[in-house]
Amino acid sequence: MEARLQELKNEALEKIQAAQTVKELTDVRVAYLGKKGPITDVLKGMGKLPAEERPKMGALANEVRAEVTESLDARMVILEEQAINEKLQSETIDISLPGRPAKTGNPHPLTRVVEEIEDLFLSMGYEIAEGPEVEKDYYNFEALNLPKGHPARDMQDSFYITEDILLRTHTSPVQARTMEAKGGEPIKIICPGKVYRRDNDDATHSHQFTQIEGLVVGEDIRMSDLKGTLSVFAKKMFGEDREIRLRPSFFPFTEPSVEMDISCFKCGGSGCNVCKKTGWIEILGAGMVHPNVLEMAGYDSKRLTGFAFGMGPERIAMLKYGIEDIRHFYTNDVRFLTQFQRTEL
């Protein structure tokens, strides 16, 4: 009987080592350790043994059982791990395949520029003022020191609807309307919007385009405040190391009037094709609000002064992104629009 047990043990251990899968090993377990297994059978035959041999045999049987169980468990750990590895192997994917694209759109490049400018001035305590695109001649011209017959009206050939109604040629009428509505109170606004001029559309002209203007009116507003404000704007929009310079110019609604150049952001001032070899790029027009404009809107120009500035988001976008043709902004080619997705921060 002892020999029989030893034989069974060796047989079982051999089969355990031979098992290649969890299932085969489970079969071995059932075959040798199960209730109907040979070891159990041997133990059942113990009754036929003399009483003094029984404990010894019992101990031996338990020993065999324990040894087989231990071997089984050890083998099971190996086979289970092997099984998991095989499963993982079979589940491997080609991670180089493209991901499922997240459906996403993006703002128009002009909106992108306008919003960037808006946010800068909002952070400096400005409000955004808006007004009609179809405007009265009064707000578009007269209230801005451009009476009928003023030579500067030639500068902006306009789309009239009636003798007194036209498509606004700049966003300045919003300034005039805001001043009128504020009734002599201080103002800090920017006015973005669409404007229209009688121009033939080509690479650099568009009969419809956008503008952003700013207006600050208050006690003792000085030209130096304009310069400081524009300098903050230039650094924020075009980079911290930008310098600005003011050049005298003329606008009927400001006096003095200036044009602002920034040091070229491409070459830093040494001269390149962006700045036409001058090192400077013209960005916007500005000036101190003309006393006639303040007075027309009901302000006491002796007590309150102000500055105003205006710029073209198209021009800024063209410079910033290197866009060569203004018509791109209005044809909505998807291959153009989708390029303004990512951040630059």
């Binding site: 030579p151 003792d220 030209m223 310079r245 006096e255 003095p256």
Partner: protein, 799 residues
């Protein structure tokens, strides 16, 4: 304005500054120099030549064989193709080794067997525009008006060793529309004095009055008129220096009389006109308003019909010039002219502007009158003309002038305090620096009691108020000196208005949903103006459109957005989804239009395309509807939808969008015929009145406690007639469901062949919930039974 720097030096010392540097200084001080043009660019080794002999080329009709004295005792043979070449001419010769603009190099050559040692040049070949070349030389070589030593360097002889500054003048700086004006500006910048031309000439014994009488019947429009008479004039070509100066200034030389008037126009900024005295025929000049319907043929050979508000110069009977704009053909100076009447006048700018606009006629004269000429230069300019005519046309100037003068020529006084100037600029400029700048500008200034009393020269009509003086001081002191500060106003909160903030939220939602923002034009064609308009009104047309395509204000954003889609699909971008926010323009109560901000969406092609995973989804009505519903949720609004029809949209796939029962938008599939017309595949459009959505106030957001109790789901599948809308069934369910019914959702639609003809199967998932406790089966069953009963009663069949 084109300014020859060589000519400019006659009036002001430019300190031998390189022209580019001078230009930069002028720009920084306020007048923008748009271009610096080197007149000698590309020119080298050109000499004066004298044609000693000229015969026809035996082998070529159009060529001449010339023997040309090129100096240094050399006679070179040159073949010339110009029709006007002749023996005895002094010409411009490009010898072998010479360079002409455009990189052309002259070499010794053989033309039809004859040697040619260079080329005889036209002015065009020297880089001068044809429109500036005197008419007689426009088709051939240029013949120098005077004899010159052969071999002389042409660049200096023709004053081509010159650089021209092109000034971009703003309308306020009319003073710089003359060489003298520019000289004053440059003098102020460089701190140099200006020297005016010296006017001296001999007068005849006879007085001008002996030949001419003057009458002005329109003193408002013509407060100052000066006429001088010059007789025994020899009309001929102007001397070289005059021709060259005119060409440098962009004016074509004609003859000495006309050239003198143009020269003074450029020098003084004062327009002059020369009449042929004999053609006047009456010995009289009368300035008056035109008679209604009166006619004049101007120098450009155009007959013009006049109105009473046009000012004319007459010979006492008939118009001989459209005052300040253009002369009449009937009194033009010709080669036969012997006596000339010179007009120098001050015409009011409004009068000239109207005349020039009515006749669509712009001239160098009218543009200067429109901006206002210097009252104090009218008389000197007439004297200057007399001097030059005496000098260059051998004329005999009659004594005195005929003058009508009611013009105020007084200098304007502007008073401003130094404190005012500094407070406007945010600077601390010293009084003596201010006085220095004003004296450089030649503004006579007295400083009295902390007040500058400034006498502004009449040439500077733009200096009228204190702020104008602030600008003069600032621009010459230098804007670079202004410090950078920020407004010292009270802190303001600033920020977006609720409307503006919600517009951004809406935009960001739409972009997050996968739409690209587009921008299209507001102006459109008559046909497109009201297509897809939610509330079409009468259209609004421009008075003077540039084209029919851009003549009417749009009432819907969709036509142009659809054009953008077609533009993309034509370029093989088959799938695109765009949105735009912008104004539509409706006729309103006010004289202004009713401008409403709208939102439009267009989409075509595939909405989802994950090709390698085999997942594709074309755009359809429900993609668009989902976006609209999502937008409404984002804005806290509840929208409803009703079936509708609109021209251009699929009649079975169109819904109007309602807010509070009011129609505020449309969602629809483009009608197949409209798709075909626009070369589009299945396309879905949306237009919403965005202003209505954004102005609607939303309720405060209050948190609902997250419940500890579970929800219980039950499904119902129904067989329905195909025409029954899901919404109708949902309404029945909701009505019957009571408090416990939390949510109803369609989860299946089947219309396949397993269904009876005209029927569909629609399945709903219902969720029951009680915030107070866990629902028992009995409670749910009771509620569910009620719903089933209501559905059965409404004609639905349980599946």
């Amino acid at each position: 304005m084109l300014v020859s720097t060589k000519w400019l030096k006659e009036y002001v010392n430019t300190q031998d500054l390189p022209p580019a540097e001078l230009g930069e200084k002028i720009t920084r001080a306020g007048i923008e120099v748009d271009a610096v043009i080197d007149r000698s660019e590309g020119l080298a080794n050109l000499v004066v030549g004298y044609v000693t002999d000229c015969v026809k080329h035996p082998e070529a009709d159009k060529l001449s064989i010339c023997q040309v004295d090129v100096g240094g005792g050399e006679i070179d043979q040159i073949i010339c193709g110009a029709p006007n070449i002749a023996k005895g001419q002094t010409v411009i010769v490009a010898r072998p080794g010479a360079k002409l603009p455009g990189g052309m190099k002259i070499k010794k050559a053989k033309l039809r067997g004859e040697v040619s040692n260079g080329m005889i040049c036209s002015l065009q070949e020297l880089g001068i525009e044809t429109k500036l070349v005197p008419k007689s030389y426009a088709e051939g070589i240029y013949v120098l008006p005077e004899k010159a030593e052969p071999g002389t360097d042409v660049l200096s002889y023709l004053d081509l060793d010159d650089t021209v500054l092109e000034l971009g003048l703003t309308p306020n700086r009319a003073d710089a529309m003359s060489m003298l004006g520019v000289a004053y500006e440059v003098g102020a910048i460089l701190e140099e004095e200006v020297s005016l031309p010296e006017i001296e000439y001999a007068e005849a014994a006879d007085a001008a009055e002996s030949m001419l009488s003057l009458e002005v019947d329109a003193p408002e429009a013509n407060p100052l008129y000066v006429a001088k008479v010059v007789r025994n004039v020899k009309v001929k070509e102007s001397p070289l220096w005059l021709q060259q100066r005119l060409m440098a200034a962009g004016v074509r030389p004609h003859n000495n009389v006309v050239d003198v008037t143009n020269y003074i126009l450029m020098e003084y900024g004062q327009p002059l006109h020369a009449f042929d005295y004999d053609s006047l025929g009456t010995g009289n000049i009368t300035v008056r308003q035109a008679k209604e319907g009166e006619k004049i043929t101007t120098l450009d050979d155009t007959e013009r019909t006049l109105s009473a508000h046009h000012l004319v110069i007459t010979n006492g009977k008939d118009p001989v010039a459209l005052a300040g704009v253009m002369g009449g053909a009937n009194s033009e100076v010709s080669d036969e002219t012997t006596t000339v009447v010179i007009e120098s006048a001050y015409f009011a700018s409004d009068s000239i502007r109207r005349t020039s606009k009515d006749h669509n006629l712009r001239s160098d004269a009218s543009s200067r009158y429109e901006k206002g000429v210097d009252p104090n230069r009218v008389i000197p300019a007439a004297e200057r003309a007399a001097q030059l005519l005496a000098q260059l046309a051998d004329g005999e100037v009659l004594k005195g002038s005929l003058v009508f003068d009611q013009l105020d020529k007084q200098e304007r006084i502007v008073k401003v305090s130094p404190d005012f100037i500094n407070s406007r600029l945010g600077m601390k400029i010293r009084l003596e620096d201010m006085l220095d700048i004003l004296s450089r500008l030649k503004f006579k200034t007295e400083a009295v009691n902390n007040q500058l009393i400034i006498e502004v020269p009449t040439r500077r009509q733009d200096i009228q108020i204190e702020e104008d003086v602030v600008e003069e001081i600032a621009r010459l002191y230098g804007y670079d000196e202004i410090p950078a500060t920020l407004p010292r106003t009270d802190a303001t909160p600033g920020g977006l208005s609720p409307y503006q903030a919600k517009r951004r939220i809406a935009r960001h939602f739409l972009e997050g949903a996968g739409l690209l923002q587009a921008t299209t034009y507001s102006l459109t064609s008559e046909a497109a103006a009201t297509q897809f308009a939610l509330e079409p009104t009468e259209t609004t047309r421009l008075l003077m459109p540039m084209s029919e395509e851009r003549s009417i204000l749009r009432q819907s954003l969709l036509p142009h957005l659809l054009e953008s889609l077609s533009y993309n699909t034509a370029r093989r971008t088959d799938s695109a989804a765009l949105y735009e926010t912008g104004s539509v323009f409706l006729k309103g109560q006010d004289e202004l239009l009713d401008e409403q901000e709208h939102l439009a969406i267009v989409m075509t092609g595939l909405w989802l395309d994950h090709s390698w995973q085999g997942e594709k989804k074309a755009v359809d009505f429900f993609v668009a509807k989902g976006i609209v519903e999502g937008l409404a949720d984002k804005l806290g609004l509840e929208l409803s939808f009703e079936r509708g029809e609109m021209d251009g949209l699929h009649p079975g796939r169109t819904a109007f969008v309602l807010l509070d029962g009011k129609r505020i938008g449309v969602i629809g599939a483009l009608h197949p015929s409209e798709q075909k017309k626009r070369d589009l595949k299945e396309t879905i459009v949306v237009e919403l009145n965005l202003a209505t959505l954004l102005t609607r106030e939303t309720e405060a957001l209050v948190y609902t406690q997250v419940s500890r109790y579970p929800t219980i789901s039950r499904d119902i599948a129904l067989v329905l007639s195909k025409i029954v809308e899901a919404q109708t069934i949902e309404d029945v369910i909701r009505k019957a469901g009571g408090k416990l019914l939390k949510d109803v959702r369609v989860f299946d639609l089947y219309e396949g062949e397993r269904m009876e003809e005209g029927k569909k199967s629609l399945a709903f998932s219902l969720r029951y919930f009680d915030p107070e406790k866990t629902l028992t089966d009995e409670e749910v069953n009771a509620a569910h039974e009620k719903i089933i009963k209501a559905l059965t009663e409404s004609g639905a069949e349980l599946r």
